[in-house]
Symmetry: C2
Subunit: 414 residues, 2 copies
């Protein structure tokens, strides 16, 4: 019997009518003879409201108290979804994270799942009872509620799928799959039928919002096929109407470039007149790492006179002020000038075919040069090339690259 | 060291500003050297919204799923209150019902508390940490979330107070105490400084909304002094600005009549032409009791010819249609005519002094007769007299009785 985990995001359970629609999709899978486990997010808007309450009381709130507040949203949806399934004559019951229990570490607000016992799920499925699990949350060894960070319900769903060795994890959302790029920028963007874990991971960490990065890592680690699809399109997951994120070997036609990711969450920091001496990079980035600030793209210019150099790197926009404070207080940097720029965008081309093809980066540089778009920073990995450009050129750059790599929908009559 | 349980109702924690105000009241008690445990309701309106979601999906919803949905409201407030206390430099942490654990029976939606371990609370108080407990909820022996029924947070507070042998349980609400009657009907209604458990219990079960009946029963059983007071008046509980519900022997001046309770939640059912035979009352009321329908006032007329009689009784308005269906389907009642009237009000006078004074009922009947108000049904107990009248006479009757028993505020300059 096929086992499927289906996860509904906030817009798919935004109100009672949508919860009932989602229950209908679950009923269709059951009618096909599949075993189904449901994972739910909070109703759209609820989590933001709860986060706002915490911030209003104290911007520097205790994460151990923030967690039970924000985790309540998924608890509500799990109960309502169980009621909606029962109304359709199905046997169902809700499970809060602590009831499963989804055991996490002690990092409140951004906890990681440590273990999930599968016994109760196996038992429920054997008895044809549909478990409806509140996403995004778990319980620490101290018996307190923890949450997995924004988008954590995706991770819950994939972790449950791994725990019960599910055949597939369907992530129902408000988009009908993964596109070559943002269709709001490029109307001709094409939905991908399949994409590899590696590509999805790069795309997610490069700004594609469709899946939480950690959920993709977990899917790759445990080999869980994940399908991204829309709960509004009327199609059932088992018909594979969305985009399947899967192993590279399951993808027949490997595109050199499969998509273009856009991130507007980065800021550029430039340090001028940095002493050019061994260990300087560690001196700069050590304190930032200790403050939990992620540094992404890094460029160090060649020193002309051998005494001083310039260094440019990017951090999350929300971290830029904190990063500058730390650098200012660092005696090694006392002679440096610090410049910041938050009006930048990171554009990345991603594709597993890149491994065996040369010239991918060159196509990118040429396409941007033709539009007279200046590149601030470049970084590459095995399956992606990213460039940092001024934010105002974002749409122009993405359209140019989408065309340059031939990603348009072919043969569509529109 | 004085131990106080303070409970904040929905209007006292309706938004972030009010939660911070409530935290200020707790801080004032701590500053006086008291040990404080906090119990919170859901933010005003939240529980109704959650109940509406459940009803919209299925009016006959599974109470075991309804419970985790509606219990989430108190979970949110407990976390926010802990944050607000922490912001004031106090050590505090939230406790959901299942974390305490507040063990209840299996009656989802109207569960009763079975046990509360006090160890963790004693430990927290010894360490000067303020426990903030989510009211209204507990956990069953099956490990599922249960709720205690409407107003259940009062019961949580009193149960916690009993468990830790608190010196007092302060119920902060939107009124500043218990009044001789509804001040919206009688502007001269007087706030009582003290009232006995017995009177409060009668008043609560007769329609006074200020405390949940079960919480008063529990306070009486365990001898917990309960104070009803307003969180908006600026006064702290330890100054005893509200109404203290306490033992009869602690009340010096025992009033014959201490208050007038009003209930508009009743409906009258009259059965005409009931066979006048032994066991007929059991035949009528047995099926209603089995359907969980509470029957309150009962009057059986004297049979004139010895073969048939009339029977009148009251049930909750929300039960009237169900009660009629049950009676119609009862073969014993086949010759009966069933009449219902939902436009009735029950007016009760309550006072422990009644035990030793005659003529209390007569004063009531005379005052109503003078205003030409017809009495449908009368019922009495040791410390109250209730009458059922047409709803339209409610205000007139209450004002007349308030004057007849001399309950007006004396010496007030207004």
């Amino acid at each position: 019997m096929t086992r499927i985990v289906v996860k509904f995001g906030g817009t798919s359970v935004a109100d009672v009518a949508r919860i009932e629609n989602a229950a209908g999709l679950v009923a269709s899978e059951v009618a096909r003879g599949h075993n189904v486990v449901v994972v739910v997010s909070a109703m759209a808007g609820v989590t933001n409201q709860l986060v706002d309450y915490c911030r209003a009381i104290d911007p520097f709130h205790d994460a151990a108290e923030y967690d039970p507040v924000v985790a309540s949203g998924e608890q509500v949806t799990s109960g309502l979804m169980a009621l909606a399934l029962q109304k359709r004559g199905l046997s169902a019951r809700s499970w809060a994270g602590w009831q499963v229990p989804i055991q996490t570490d002690l990092a409140h607000g951004r906890a990681r799942i440590v273990s999930i016992p599968s016994g109760f799920l196996d038992k429920a499925l054997t008895e044809n009872e549909i478990p409806v699990i509140a996403g995004f949350q778990g319980i620490t060894e101290e018996g307190r509620i923890s949450t997995l960070g924004r988008g954590g319900s995706d991770t819950t769903a994939v972790a449950i799928a791994a725990a019960i060795r599910a055949d597939r994890c369907d992530i129902y959302t408000d988009v009908d799959g993964v596109y070559t790029t943002d269709p709001r920028i490029v109307p001709g963007a094409r939905k991908l039928d399949r994409i590899s874990y590696e590509e999805m991971l790069e795309a997610a960490s490069l700004g594609a919002k469709v899946l939480q990065t950690r959920s993709v890592e977990m899917a790759m680690k445990w080999g869980v096929p994940v399908q991204v699809l829309s709960s509004f399109a009327g199609a059932v997951g088992s018909d594979l109407p969305g985009t399947l994120v899967t192993k590279e070997e399951d993808i027949v036609e490997k595109q050199i470039v499969n998509g273009i990711a856009i991130s507007r969450d980065d800021a550029k920091i430039t340090l001028l007149n940095v002493p050019d001496q061994p260990g300087i990079a560690a001196a700069i980035f050590g304190p930032l790492a200790r403050a939990n600030i992620n540094v992404d793209m890094i460029v160090q210019n060649v020193s002309t006179d051998g005494t001083a150099t310039d260094m440019t790197f990017t951090v999350a926009r929300s971290d830029v002020h904190r990063a500058v404070e730390i650098l200012k207080n660092d005696s090694t940097m006392s002679a440096c000038e610090i410049r910041t720029d938050s009006t930048v965008a990171k554009i990345s081309v991603v594709g597993i075919g890149m491994r065996s093809h040369a010239g991918v980066a060159q196509t990118m540089f040429a396409a941007l040069a033709e539009k007279r778009i200046n590149i601030h920073v470049i970084s590459t990995s095995e399956i992606k090339v990213s460039v940092l450009i001024s934010e105002e050129y974002t749409e122009l750059a993405v359209r140019a690259l989408h065309a340059a790599y031939g990603l348009e929908a072919r043969g569509r009559l529109e």
